[in-house]
């Protein structure tokens, strides 16, 4: 069974200008949203206290709020979480600071006075200094991944590909963060982990394409980069769609069955996989071409190991002449 016809000849790159426009629009919308609304930073980064409670029967949120006000809190948020019987109470950092780790105990005490079978599900308290550190670490992690990838691809391929791949990565990360900002998805540590996983995934896709492109450059006689890139994308289309599909399937399972806590994580990954697939088709390829990847760039790269298609690479002494 084929989902994708085996010999597609879609001229993807004919639309690459359209793709650039589309990317730009979403990118600008994302940046605009980032600038005006920012990210909906979770507790990990803002600091503060979060308490998740399970009531035997759905509580009246206003009553909960009133109880907390009587207990001396004035800046807090009460929301339902998943079901009407589960609520979370969030107390921002500035209110928490005076009381430190004690705030959660006070909330529990105040609320459980009225409801006997109140169940504590989760308490998170993040001090302000920790929040700052986590934010710094998250940023550094993103940076190091980008640098590591740049080095690895330069080493395995060629700098133009590395720049193309990293360009596609930056594109993906910006788009994902932009979408998170537009939809105001809670941005916590698991989302940072998801973004790093998106980087891994999107890179995976890009590498697969570049690998094929390199092979085609080496094997095919005609060397119009544009045509070869198009050919490579078409050759890999079945694989790209199939892998994206399986990955999306498990992510959707995670999104619907993984529980409330993993929601933002799964959502980020779903966005990332879709954007990553799109970018490896449109962005990574056309970036490499725009940067001027040519046959010469790729010839000296010696593939190693058992995968060597030995009949197809010319012996060393002919290679310069051929190029």
């Amino acid at each position: 069974m084929d989902i994708i016809k085996s010999d597609t000849k879609i001229n993807f790159l004919r639309y690459h200008n359209l793709a650039l426009v589309l990317s730009s629009i979403v990118l600008i919308a994302g940046i605009f949203s980032l600038a005006t609304r920012g990210l909906n930073f979770g507790l990990d980064f803002t600091g503060g206290t979060l308490i998740e409670l399970h009531y035997p029967e759905a509580p009246e949120l206003n009553e909960v709020r009133q109880t907390l006000e009587t207990a001396g809190f004035d800046d807090f948020v009460v929301q339902t979480f998943g079901t009407a019987r589960d609520i979370i109470v969030r107390i921002p950092a500035d209110e928490t600071e005076a009381t430190g780790a004690e705030a959660s105990s006070r909330v529990l005490e105040a609320l459980s006075a009225g409801v006997a079978e109140l169940e504590m599900r989760r308490v998170e308290f993040v001090g302000p200094q920790i929040g700052q550190e986590l934010a710094e670490q998250g940023g550094l992690a993103l940076l190091y991944v980008l640098i590591g990838v740049l080095i690895y691809i330069s080493f395995r391929f060629q700098w133009r590909f590395a720049v193309g791949a990293v360009g596609a990565l930056v594109h993906d990360v910006l788009l994902v963060i932009g979408v998170l900002s537009i939809l105001q998805v809670s941005f916590d540590l698991t989302v940072v982990a998801a973004i790093l996983a998106v980087i891994g995934y999107s890179l995976n896709d890009t590498i697969v394409l570049y690998d094929r492109l390199r092979e085609n450059f080496q094997v095919k006689r005609k060397c119009d980069p544009m045509e070869l890139t198009n050919l490579s994308i078409n050759q890999m289309l079945g694989r790209t769609v199939m892998t994206s599909l399986t990955t999306l399937l498990v992510l959707i399972a995670l999104f619907y069955f993984g529980g409330e806590i993993i929601h933002a994580f799964a959502f980020t990954l779903i966005c990332g996989v879709i954007i990553g697939t799109y970018s490896s088709i449109y962005i990574a390829g056309s970036l490499a071409i725009k940067l001027g990847v040519s046959k010469q760039d790729l010839m000296p790269v010696q593939k190693e190991g058992a995968d060597q298609p030995d009949t197809e690479i010319l012996p060393e002494r002919f290679r310069n002449r051929e190029a």
């Binding site: 995976n204 590498i207 892998t243």
Partner: protein, 620 residues
Amino acid sequence: MNRFPPWKYALLIIVIGLGLVYALPNLFGDDPAVQVSSTRGFELQPELTGQVEGVLSDAGIEHGRIEHSPQRVLIRFSDTDRQLRAADALRESMGDDFVVALNLAPSTPPWLDALGADPMVLGLDLQGGVHFLMQVDMDAARTQQLESYVSDLRNILRDAGIRYRSVRVDRNTVVVELRSEADRDQARQYVERELGDELNVETFEGSQTSNLRLTIDEAYLQEIQQNALRQNITTLRNRVNELGVAEPVIQQQGADRIVVQLPGVQDTAEAKRVIGATATVEYRAVDEQNDPYEAERTGRIPSGSKLYYDRNEQPILLSREVIASGDNLIGAAAGFDQQSGQPNVVVTLDGAGARRMLDHTSENVGNRMAVVFIEHRPETRVVDGEEVHSTRRVEEVISAAVTREPFGKRFQTTGLGSATEAAQLAMLLRAGALAAPMQIIEERTVGPSLGQDNIDQGFRSVIIGFVLVLVLMAIYYKVFGLVANLALTANLVLIVALLSMLGATLTLPGIAGIVLTVGMAVDANVLIYERIREELRNGNTPQASIRAGYEKAFSTIADANVTTLIAAVVLFMFGTGPIKGFAVTLSLGIVTSMFTAIVGTRAVITLIYGGRKRVQSLAI
């Protein structure tokens, strides 16, 4: 004909066999158990097993296997009701020297246990429990040290017969004011001889005095801080023992932080009270010469004394000299005086504390000695628009008792109102052995019901995602898809086996990592199969296509996985707690999936098609 070397078959069988064995323990559940361990971390003697058995048979509680190790005695039960009754019975009869805690013991069969196969360790988000990150206030540790230098310096100068105007703490230094340069030179000599290793001495001129400024040597300061941290960890261990937690984790993180993890603790408020009590105690002599009420009224406090208040807000004058402090305290236990039958608290001091205590009590029989309880409460002020975190010192006299006879290392305090009061004093004393104040800067608590939900939801999403992928692969790639499904299953077994072998902790994001791996692991097979299809389309024979497919796809798979691995490794280095779990399962998944998808599927495909001379078509 396609051949596959026998050694690769052997490797595959060995790896998957080992994987199955080490993944197996996860299929067996847990037995409710009670764990008995030493409060002080002493090794447990085998005789303890008999004692435990005796207690249980006296109470008429049936029990399962009893395991003894130097760290703990573990008793299994068939149900939680017996477990709870047994824990109560043991707590009552084992006394203060042992910690009795509820635990879950994996019911791994003995033969698996003998192979060292254990189930995965579940993270706090899955089994429920408390995670605290404590920040040790190193500035306070320095100030405390400086204050102790002040009294040391006074003694040195007094012994040397040098008259000084004042010795006081000035920010991060101690300043000694002397009347003349000659005095100062002399003082400097003495100070350098006595404390030269620890203090850097410089001179400067005051308005009318010749002064010395002493700063703590940087290397020595680090040593002090490291010691303070270690002392705090020890204290935390003792406090956690009071809570009766089965497998607590208490370790240093970074230069000035301590991580405390208490799996299974449900009463977090109690845990916080016991752990977060940032307190210390000091023994001081009571100034009997002066009237504290008068001092309070006039505000004129006799030199050498300091005004304190006891728990009933009554003033009391205490000497400025500290006889012994929380640092010197080894133990404090509540009990009953053997002669009078009154409740008492028996205190044990370390060598230095005992010596000073003996010196003091020999000269002060009949006088009172007080215990001051000092608490550091965290506080935030706003100074010049910037928030300043600090700790406020609250001091309170918790007991003042008459010294009946000289004592040193071990002594008892009687005259307490009740047994409860004695127990409270003992707990406060034990809690008081902190070398530097600490503050909770991060807390993550997961209730037991949420933990169970997380496990259920996590596994449900793994299974559903897994089945969806299996179905899609089988439909799309037919026979080859089924082979890939075998590889995917083997991959899942290997991830679980590796996690169990490494003793890595499984967290909710870790499960997410497994789910993601399941989705991405088929990528290698998809690459290979698409390549085989392509070769077939190009008119190659089935056998040649299989060979070419595997060979040509290899470098692509390797490149793609290495880059994902880079992301996973960086995540591991920077991530904390649960995020690390995600990075671990993702990395392991990448490595195992390469193995199963390339070596594993090829072995099976060769088994199916390799031996045949003529293969008309491939079911791909």
